[in-house]
């Protein structure tokens, strides 16, 4: 049978060793009423050739950037991934190993985790980073839960900017729903597409637990974070930033420099394929003084009995396998292989490559935005500065859909389902993967020529 190496003679000898004659005797202590209904009714197994055919047939029904021209971002980004990344993460020594609970035979994974933590600290300008969480949305929820552990019970109002990714807001709301003392307050956005500073000044007070804002936010806008930092400093709330496009942090003033207490986000854009939005990884960084409240795994440096440097999982008394119901989180994974992909990605690009790639994104996105406004007559919706995504209004959006389909272009993400106030608005993302010719076609198709 596929993947089970037992020959008839193996089975017979093994059963004899155990003192049985039939396989079924291994489970005859299970109630008969359960056993008699247990047969699985699925198709028969397929040969490897047929498996590949079936999978290829399913894959062929999907639109990929090879056949279509994408201008999609909104939390998942199409970037160039150096071949070094898949070469490393395909190595079975990394992909088929378990969580490094036996550090003597897991130094590869542990050192890479430690390097990952360092890279994320450098990129975000924060003091400590964990080894990874599920995704940006649950990392945001974990940040709020950490703020709840740190803050006193008199602070139970969570302020979340409406310009934060709508799915992230939804996940935060799901996680908080059953913690009945905690209240979620939405902060509106202003004309710039930034978190409303007047609202912050008015509403964030001594009851505030934390303020959460996107950087860049869901509209692609690079928010001026000083008003949020000031509101937090004044009121004692914790300042949480969320970054869905961490490549931008190679160029932008990092959350740490803005005074963030916790900076989280989605790491997919750093070397992980889009893969319909998962798996990627959530990153989680914060001030050092909060480290014992941190959710998730941490690799730390130590030495062996001979003084050789080595790495171990550490501060695990925060975690579920030790602390059970008192753990800082229930999480039991760190999306390690995806975090490794990001580590290889950042190591390959390095200091200059990361910045260059970020600049190419800014260049192309601004070029495209300018052309769409000037030549295709679309209206910019927000005035704030942006990285590689921007919002435009196009009155004829619904009508032009068939034209885009014919051209095999997906021009962006329609915002109306999440923001009724943003009818006819499109979130357009342009990365280094969009060549000039693609932008040309996008402008032409919008113009209707």
């Amino acid at each position: 049978m596929r993947y089970t190496p037992h020959t008839a003679s193996d089975k017979e000898q093994m059963l004899r060793t155990i003192g049985l004659s039939r396989i079924e005797q291994l489970f005859d202590h299970i109630p008969q009423s359960l056993r008699e209904r247990a047969a699985i009714s699925l198709a028969s197994g397929l040969t490897e050739v047929k498996v590949k055919k079936r999978m290829a047939a399913l894959a062929a029904k999907n639109a990929t950037p090879e056949g279509w021209t994408f201008f999609l971002g909104g939390g998942i980004y199409h970037h160039a991934i150096p071949s070094t990344v898949d070469a490393v993460i395909s190595r079975s020594e990394f992909s088929t190993s378990y969580t490094p609970y036996q550090p003597e035979v897991s130094q590869g994974t542990l050192q890479a985790m430690y390097e990952f933590q360092t890279l994320m600290c450098q990129l975000t300008g924060m003091e400590v980073s964990n080894a990874g969480l599920y995704d940006g949305a649950s990392a945001t929820a974990e940040a709020v839960l950490m703020a709840r552990r740190i803050q006193s019970e008199s602070r139970r109002r969570v302020f979340v900017s409406r310009s934060l990714h709508p799915q992230y807001r939804a996940v935060v709301s799901t996680y908080l729903r059953n913690l009945e003392d905690t209240e979620l307050v939405e902060i509106p956005f202003d004309r710039n597409g930034e978190t409303d500073a007047e609202f912050l000044a008015r509403e964030v007070d001594e009851k505030a637990m934390c303020v959460v804002a996107g950087y860049p936010n869901f509209f692609g806008v690079i928010e001026e974070l000083a008003p949020i930092q000031e509101a937090c400093a004044r009121s004692g709330a914790l300042f949480v930033t969320v970054t869905t496009e961490p490549l931008s942090l190679a160029l932008l003033r990092p959350p740490g420099a803005w005074g963030a207490d916790i900076a989280v986000g989605e790491g997919q854009s750093l070397g992980v394929p889009m893969s319909l939005g998962g798996p990627g990884f959530g990153f989680f960084t914060c001030r050092k003084k909060f480290v014992r409240s941190l959710p998730g795994r941490l690799a730390g440096e130590t030495v062996d009995h001979e003084g050789r440097r080595g790495f171990v999982l550490t501060l695990s008394t925060r975690e579920q396998h030790i602390r059970r119901e008192k753990a800082t989180s229930n999480i039991c994974t760190s999306q390690t292989l995806c975090a490794l992909a990001a580590t290889v990605f950042m190591a390959t690009l390095g200091k200059s490559g990361m910045r260059r790639l970020a600049e190419v994104n800014v260049c192309r996105a601004h070029d495209a935005q300018g052309r769409l406004v000037k030549d295709a007559g679309l209206a910019p919706v927000f005035t704030g500065p942006f990285f590689n995504e921007f919002v435009l209004r196009s009155k004829g959006l619904a009508r032009s859909q068939s034209r885009f389909a014919a051209e095999k272009i997906i021009p962006g993400i329609s915002l109306a389902p999440w923001y009724p106030e943003l009818q006819d608005c499109l979130l357009v993302c342009v990365t280094e993967m969009n060549e000039g010719e693609e932008i040309e076609r996008l402008v032409r198709t919008f113009s209707g020529d």
């Binding site: 198709a43 998942i76 020594e93 933590q117 450098q122 260049c363």
Partner: protein, 493 residues
């Protein structure tokens, strides 16, 4: 074996950190300059200088670094990995090949549904296949891991009970449960009531009845439990819980023991999660990504997370308008790349192959148990399913503990079993061979374990000083926790 390794073998020594090598200006990335500097489009007060300390390496340097790191790892494809409760089975290569098809790996989650029909079809079918295997009515694939599946399942239970009038306050968890069970309960706003299992390693219905009242929302049970024992009273236990209006949650971590043998859906289970990185062969990746789908009985369907995938006139649509839903637990569609691998695994094996997998998992575990029971004390005499638990009681007489046995196994070239878990067994050694291992490797592992048992008797200090042959010796974990160093920093001038 007792000789100390010189530690000079390049393949076995750690490379410097990526921050400690390289040279300013070096990069493995080439992209010619484009018109207009990017920074000029953005106000300067929003920009940073370069990233201090960031690596500056060439491409070959990067590859050598990570290749050398990889040599320091133990992995399924190098050797047997008998970790109990982790199901370290072979991760088939074809799954890796198909998951990398651009038609899966290059999909954007916000593309219009009509342009990702193949992906939605795969997800829809995977939900149905997992429902069939587990005997549940509906499945959501959104949770990113087992623990997130637990949280999702408990949220579903809470939403259902809230609708019935009272979300209740407590969750019953046996002392043999995974630590995630109580941690997820807390996160869902519940108090944990722990019950002890019997001297036969099982939960007794009478014990549940003692603590079961109208404030208990659910009982969380793992079956087979973490002792590898089938909870044969589960139907009776479910009845006790249901009578008082509670629900039964099954931690499906050990589903690898049950395929074709017993379906959780027939056991009185209302909600369960499944770890695709265990039973369904997706790689562990050194600690994720995994996936933790949740299955429910039909009366709980409307509480499942959104979006849900529905089939309509032969095509697949996404729907979010379910008023009773617990909401969204993860962005987009969960860990799609992992779901693709699990789908490929299921269609590769089919019904017969899945059933045979569970049978051979039981055969391998019982075989190892037989081979080891002379030298090690079994925690419980009950029949075992896919894993078995021993203790260090016999070795303790010579001052040798489970940790020593585990470290000594490394010198024999084997990864240790899961140790000190479940917590109810003092010095537990929890062994799960899985079905993909052959008899010869099981024999070799048993020989190593039995040899260590002899060493424990004759040369206990040899065992207590292990390991001798690994790239680093026993690491000082207390020091790491006392003064945490969690990142590299440049040396201060």
């Amino acid at each position: 074996m007792s000789e100390h390794s010189p530690g000079t073998d390049l393949r076995r020594s750690a490379p410097p950190l990526i921050f400690e090598s390289g040279s300013p200006g070096r990069s493995g990335f080439f992209w010619p300059e484009e018109k207009g500097e990017g920074g000029e489009k953005i106000p300067s007060e929003l920009l940073r200088d370069d990233i201090p300390g960031f690596p500056e390496l060439g491409e070959l340097e990067v590859l050598r670094h990570f290749t050398r790191l990889s040599h320091l790892n133990y992995a399924i494809e190098s050797q047997f990995y008998p970790l109990g409760s982790c199901t370290m089975k072979y991760n088939p290569k074809v799954n890796e090949v198909v998951a990398r098809l651009p038609g899966f790996s290059s999909l954007h989650p916000l593309a219009p549904p009509e342009l990702i029909q193949g992906a939605l079809e795969l997800l829809y079918e995977l939900e149905e296949m997992l429902a069939e295997i587990s005997g549940m009515a509906h499945v959501t694939l959104q949770p990113a891991a087992g623990a997130q599946g637990e949280l999702t399942g408990l949220m579903v239970i809470r939403a259902c009970l809230r609708e019935r009038g009272n979300p209740r306050r407590k969750i019953i968890v046996p002392d043999t449960a995974h630590g995630t069970n109580p941690a997820s309960s807390t996160l869902c706003g519940y108090e944990v009531v722990q019950i002890s299992s019997s001297n036969r390693g099982m939960v007794e219905a009478a014990k549940v009845a003692e603590v079961m009242d109208e404030e208990v929302a659910a009982l969380m049970l793992t079956n087979p439990n973490t002792l590898g024992i089938f909870e044969k009273n589960i139907q009776e236990i479910a009845e006790v819980v249901h009578k008082k209006g509670g629900l039964v949650y099954l931690d499906g971590a050990n589903l690898n023991a049950l395929m074709g043998i017993a379906k959780p859906g027939d056991m009185g289970v209302d909600v369960l999660h499944i770890n695709l990185h265990k039973t369904f062969s997706t790689p562990h990746g050194g600690g994720g990504p995994g996936a933790g789908p949740v299955g429910v009985k039909s009366f709980l369907r409307d509480f499942l997370p959104v979006p849900r995938i529905l089939k309509k006139d032969g095509s697949f649509v996404l729907r979010e308008d379910f008023a009773k839903s617990v909401g969204r637990v993860r962005s987009f569609f969960g860990n799609f790349g992992i779901l693709v691998r699990a789908y490929a695994y299921i269609i590769s094996l089919g019904s017969d192959g899945l059933e045979e997998a569970s049978r051979m998992a039981l055969l391998n575990a019982n075989y190892l148990r037989k081979k080891l029971e002379g030298a090690y004390q079994l925690a419980y005499p009950e029949p075992c399913m896919h894993e078995c638990v021993f203790t260090d009681r016999l070795q303790q007489r010579h001052g040798v503990a489970t940790l020593d046995i585990a470290k000594r196994l490394l010198d024999y070239g084997f990864h240790p079993p899961t140790i000190y878990f479940p917590l109810v067994v003092s010095g537990a050694l929890m062994i799960e061979p899985t079905e993909t291992e052959n008899r010869e490797i099981l024999d070799a592992f048993a020989d190593a374990m039995n040899s260590i048992a002899r060493e424990a008797k004759e040369h206990p200090d040899l065992v207590k000083g292990a390991p001798y042959t690994t790239p680093v010796g026993r690491l000082d974990e207390a020091r790491a926790a006392r003064k945490p160093v969690l990142r590299w920093e440049p040396a201060k001038e």
